[in-house]
Amino acid sequence: MKQTVFTAMLPIGESLVVQKNHICGTRRNGPRIAVVAGMYGDELEGQFVTFELARRLNECPGDLRGVVDIYPALNPLGLSSHEHGVPQFDIDLERTFPGNPDGSLTEVLADAVFNDILGAHACVVLHSSDARVRELTQVRIDEQDDAGLISLASLLNPQIIWARSAQSVSQPTLAYALNARGCPTVVVEMGSGAHINKNSEVWLVEGILRLLEKLHAWTGSTIALPYPRVVRGGNVAVLMASDPGLFLPSVEHGDWVRRGDVVGAIVDPLEGITRSELRAPCNGLVFSLRDYPFVQPGSLLARILEEER
């Protein structure tokens, strides 16, 4: 059932409306989970996940024994104009939580969404990678309080669980604010921004159903992937560009590399020369890989999870 979570008037005969799909199973008072997407207007993978999840739940209404609230578009103006932040203000909605009922438009919106989710038994926040870097499906959690969240995260069928101290899981994000109020929340990063990668997204939907199953709110079928790799901050080698130019990877996303293998090269399109060659500093799995080829010093090229195959 479509429900309006927030509405605000826009200047010329339109309202900004944040909606959710409130799907009630056979037990109205059963466990409730929230699935949130569309925080950034240029991250579209969550759109397919929310579609597929709603489709699966619609298909087997008798199997749901709880409540699923799906919020596909927290930033509808950004999604409609393919802008990362909230258009006009260039505001990062994901840095606005828990919001403020007496604040600006985005703060009031954040407050409304936050309070609507509060009380859920779990929340999954869906982010895509941006257009510059392709990511394996990963759940990011705060390394300070990962104990309770790793088991939740592992249900979601990610390839990686990354426990780290980073902005994506810190104040003032939705995940941080909800965890601080006792609503277990994890952040999923996946794919490459403005693309749909059906395979990995279908696995994630299966994972969300597994989460419901764990809460005794789903009696339908689920599929589990092998237990994900759990990464601590120190086990990740980060490759940054040291030269400007065009990055040409020599590996595929998700490849295993050995220490010393060539990961890619930065070339100069003007002079036709290779400016630098990047080699793997360790054995491991390439779980992030640059997609947008133009790079400057400091551009992220790859992340390698240090591990023997």
Binding site: A8, L10, G13, I91, E107, M240, P244, G298, S299
Partner: protein
């Protein structure tokens, strides 16, 4: 005056990013004050004010008015790369230099720039940053201080030397901790953020006000000497405000055309009508915004179209 490159970075298909610094006074003297302009690509006014200061300080140095044993550094633009393509944040990566401090010399692009900037800037006793807000509108020129301990207590006292009508203190949030102002203060520099009236255009009047304020401060701190008064505008009586003292007026139940009847700096009385929101299709009044206090208009939105829940005016209440 000595000019040099504070930091340089190679980029594809363009000339290297060069962050230029202009140093005045005794090259081996105490590093007395660093003045930093635009960090974002739309901060035209902030760059202009620094450029005016470069010209004025060059003349003052020529006349021997920089105090012996002291030096001043001016960096008009930390972000010429974005300014030249009129993008607010760092292109492609979409990162904000003023959210990248203290930076990392081996980190992301803007973290590298921030680290290089800080390495130079933190060697100065006083730091002045020309800042902008993300809200489109006019402000009363003022000084802001990140209130975070003993050093900022002293900074608040020093801030009166700018002679601007308001000093605003703000308790920093976690979000503020990656700004130059915050990190400067943490590292022992008295850090001041100066806000002018405009951002993406030159407003010569408020540029002059801020330029005078900086010179006044340099005189008061004995960094400039041998002159009774370098400023062209008399110092104002400074009021101290906390961020939370400012009174916001918002569009609570409407959106449409914004018609304001006051200007920034105007004195207003409690109950005075300050703005109206008109319907987009027939201009009938939807909402009237009245001042809840006696005070001065501190901020006023300049957009003609407003949404619901938008801060339209901020009033600095009378003491």
């Amino acid at each position: 005056m000595r000019s040099g490159i504070v930091y340089q970075m190679e980029v594809p298909h363009r000339e290297p990013v060069r962050i230029r610094g202009f140093e005045f006074g005794d090259e081996r003297g105490a590093r007395a004050c660093a003045i930093v302009g635009s960090m974002r690509g739309n901060e035209v006014q902030q760059t202009f004010i620094c450029a005016r200061l470069v010209a004025l300080l060059a003349n003052l140095e020529h006349e021997g008015m920089i105090s012996a044993g002291k030096s001043i550094l001016v960096i008009p633009s930390v972000n010429p790369f974005s300014m030249n393509v009129q993008q607010r944040f760092w292109p492609v990566e979409r990162t904000d230099i003023n959210r990248s401090f203290p930076g990392d010399e081996r980190g992301g692009t803007t973290e590298r720039i921030a680290a290089a900037m800080l390495r130079v800037a933190q060697t100065y006793a006083h730091g002045i940053q020309l800042c902008s807000f993300n809200q489109q509108g006019d402000f009363l020129p003022h000084v802001r201080i990140s209130h975070q301990g003993p050093i900022s207590e002293r900074s608040v006292v020093l801030a009166r030397d700018f002679g601007l009508p308001y000093v605003v203190t703000r308790v920093p949030s976690l979000f503020d901790e990656s700004t130059l102002n915050y990190v400067w203060q943490q590292n022992g520099t008295h850090a001041f953020s100066l806000y002018s009236r405009a951002t993406d255009r030159i407003d010569r009047g408020s540029a002059q006000t801020v330029t005078d304020a900086v010179l006044r401060f340099l005189v008061a701190r004995d960094i400039l000497s041998g002159m009774a008064n370098v400023a062209t505008v008399p110092a104002a009586t400074t009021s101290l405000l906390r961020e939370e003292d400012l009174v916001d007026l918002r569009t609570r139940r409407s959106a449409g055309y914004l018609i304001t009847t006051v200007r920034v700096g105007d004195r207003v009385r409690k109950g005075q009508k300050l703005a109206q929101v008109l319907d987009a299709f027939d201009t009938h009044p939807l909402e009237t915004l009245q001042s809840p206090v006696d005070g001065r208009v501190f901020f006023m939105r300049t957009d003609s179209l407003v949404q619901q829940h938008m801060v339209v005016l901020r009033i600095a209440p009378d003491a």
